[in-house]
Symmetry: D2
């Protein structure tokens, strides 16, 4: 690899490709694959998010990928949606807060590694989401999770929001573990006095239709967990995804899905035998911006 | 540490306690804490499972903990329940299968690290679970997930089954991401032609009652994921758990909850400021049997 | 796996063997292999140590393995020898010291994770090792590293010391990176005013003779680093080791030797094609005592 | 973070800085710190290398940093020097070789993760290094390791070589574990019939002089192992380094130095209390090129 001051992100990644081994090689192959699946008209692109991707600064990148039509389906933890709403409602993610966890608790500051949230932002969140839940139930009190999230997206007016942008663009958001989040908690508290049922298996029907209607599916997996499994497993009915990229720091030996090699998905027909699979070991807040910037530069270059 | 051939598990762990540092010290402290929370009449013990704990050989250990009244609440991925049923229906988990993932797929063998499953066992699973789903809907077609799982537990007759034993003992099982599993897939396929709605937020009511009714709560966390979050977050209404033990190979730096230090939960009031928290870094299929064998020997010794 | 209170360490490990997968299976296979190589008269057993194995509480276990003739060659970082001497000279390893690293520094306390050392112990160490260095140079001022370490072993009188026991038993200790340790630092300071040369490549001659004279070699590797490489690479001249066990938390993807799978050693003829190789992912202060206690119980049982 | 196609590496890293948390924040801070220590006339910059940095494609980047006067001292494993020589002598590092490790062995191909070496290149290496060793002993047969490496550097004529460039620029290379490498093995075989002694502690004198003569020291640590320890410990005599950056995938809990947080070095006076310390968790073949490209662009920009 040879470096030149002022080189573009893609030029750097192409140097990594010349080396072609270890992490550098993986990142190069992931970037190229990302560009190809985004560009391919026939490929439906899933993006799955676990871990603090929105608090970790990827909100705008994800929102832009949706806005530009590069991501067709989003699968996420409830937490990332909660944090998207937190920002949509005027809250923020903070850094450099002093104090140990006990002191933070007393100050009303929640910690995610070196990211901090404030309870006053959650108070605003609770109030605003309750208003939204009220509006939703005025029209309908039996929805699947995807419909519920689309309605929320239409009812907020932050152009930078993932939920809002996805609703505007018609990109479905699936969050099978939604209930296990601050948004889920508010939903449950709301249902103590209001009628609103989310059918746990209700999304599967439209998701399977979507998979059947897709000539090819590629999935980009940031972190593991339920979103990774859902992204892969929802493709089992058609023999598996055609391409997958995963970015993770988890490891494989103890058998958890989060750290599992993508190849394992082939044995379950969650990835096709001929599928293209690239794993990059690393922190998604470094690797994903690199990969996306590189892929987008590559798309412009190849026009 | 000094070793003697033929020493009991507890004697070994007590040698680790004499050293008291690194993993050895963590394991000793976790064992002692586990014994204390199991023994304490006032403490409700949650066990949360993510990763292949049942396929990984912990089924009987977990079942026995429930049977003996040592675990009061189980929170798990849908996958561990699917694999519990697979064994209840006569299937098994296999090892030493030759072939790469593409070859395994053609042989109908699904791989989880070095654990293998056979499609014929899943065929039996599908048939038997469908019969059970039919029986459940005869009585009721609107349940929360916990009720659904209890009913399944009553409808199978394997004494070694976690689901069955939990149903017999009145131990609730929560699986907030149930839908994202083979069991969830069968459920969805069943609902294509039958009426059966699982309310995604339906469990929260009884789980919060249970938390409010518990003078103290301790949670033992194997793996991370949704079950870890649910086990901690469900205690937020009462200021957090009083004790927690986690066993994981995930790491903390990228901010994912699975690898997060338990101390972080204090900032969110998911663990009380004065709570006792022990993390052991390691493979749960080694660490958990050690810890449970040690804690149970310690209980007998202290009688 | 089925647990019984009061079960011996071996009984627990045999339960892990019945499961046979993930960490449990690895630990069982490692225990059996350890027993076999220890028992086999024709196999020379190397033990390589990187990381804080002596500060981490394994000193007595390692010393006993040497005393009982179960380990034939020790390869270690200089740090583990420094800490063996620290204890031989009356010092200790401490736990539960309060303060951040800056405060510890001002108190003269050095930290290794949750292990603490005191500068007063190092002061004693410096004084005593200087006396020993003086005695060594009275007889000889040109040695290889192994000879130097044997001489130190003979000049201390702590029966619990690894260096002392190895010297008594004629077990060679190799420490190719010795100079990079407190012991190395003292050696260098001593040579400012005294004549004492350690030949960096001087050990290779006798180590290669030892390897050539061994019908079979097995190596047990705790941690990675230079000791791991040296233990494997010294066998390259005879086509590689016949068996190897490694215990590590390092991972393989970035290509560092410490996390490399043992299989990779086959490509370099550092492990024979037919060699038996087992890696256990975990903290050596948990895994190694388990494995040794299990192997020794198995030896007694099979008598 | 906001991405623009065609953005430079620095622009991308500055977006990461705006987020400022998790890996993105770490990378940004490391980049800024790297720029500052390189630019500061008073700071002596150490670079320590463990793991396959030369085979992993960083050879040219490291060579250029030396050539441009940005790195003042290099501390490395013997393996990275062996691989530098392998390339200097016309060999290469290969990728995409088919076969398992046993097959690779029979083909004479050594594997480092997904990097491959060929035995024919090592044959050339052996022949050429022997000629060089012969030339060195014509003049001198008692050297310290640094002198030995400088002489090799002068005796090869590859402008792209790290050893050659360092010799030309007067940048010292320290390799305390040199003997444990293919270069060390050749050295030992050479000494079977020739007189050439490398004094194991001989480097310490000049390295301590160098440290004492440096108003400030910063160390950049890729991987851990002996080079990390040596880079930090050699500064203990002056109270520790003033700044340090480490890039690693190792973890801290088991206490190995490779994964230890840099803060721990403060307790040992290997890093000053007021030192600036940044750790980036990741694969060095991705992180280091990013960081260097960013730092160099930042230097040009700030002119």
């Amino acid at each position: 690899m040879k470096l030149d001051p002022g080189m573009t992100t893609l030029q750097l990644i192409e140097e990594m490709g010349k080396s072609g081994v270890l992490g550098a090689g993986r990142l190069y192959r992931a970037t190229k694959l990302l560009k190809e699946v985004i560009e391919d008209e026939e490929t439906t692109v899933f993006l799955s998010l676990a871990g603090p991707m929105v608090p970790g600064g990827l909100r705008k990148i994800i929102r832009d990928l949706i806005a530009e039509g590069y991501v067709d389906v989003l699968i996420t933890s409830g937490a990332n949606l909660t944090h998207d709403l937190l920002e949509a409602f005027g809250g923020a993610h903070y850094r450099d807060q002093a104090g140990n966890d006990e002191e933070l608790c007393q100050m009303g500051i929640g910690r995610i590694a070196d990211i901090y949230t404030k309870s006053e932002d959650f108070t605003v969140f609770e109030s605003k989401i309750n208003t939204i839940l009220g509006k939703i139930t005025e029209k309908n009190n039996n929805l699947n999770i995807r419909e519920f999230l689309t309605q929320i997206g239409h009812l907020i007016d932050d152009e930078e929001s993932i939920l809002h942008t996805a609703a505007q663009k018609g990109v479905p958001i699936y969050a099978p573990g939604l209930i296990d989040s601050m948004l889920g908690l508010q939903l449950w508290m709301f249902t103590q006095e209001n009628q609103l049922t989310l059918d746990a298996s209700g999304d599967m029907h439209e998701l399977s239709d979507l998979v059947y209607a897709s000539p090819k599916v590629a999935t980009v997996i940031l972190g593991g967990g339920l979103p990774k499994h859902y992204a892969l497993a929802s493709n089992i009915l058609t023999g598996g995804v055609d391409a997958a990229i995963q970015v993770t720091l988890d490891r494989s030996e103890a058998g958890s899905l989060s750290g599992a090699p993508l190849e394992e998905a082939k044995s379950w027909a969650k990835a096709k035998c001929e599928s293209r699979l690239v794993t990059v070991i690393g922190d998604a807040t470094i690797i994903f911006p690199l990969m996306v910037a590189g892929a987008r530069e590559l798309m412009e270059k190849s026009v």
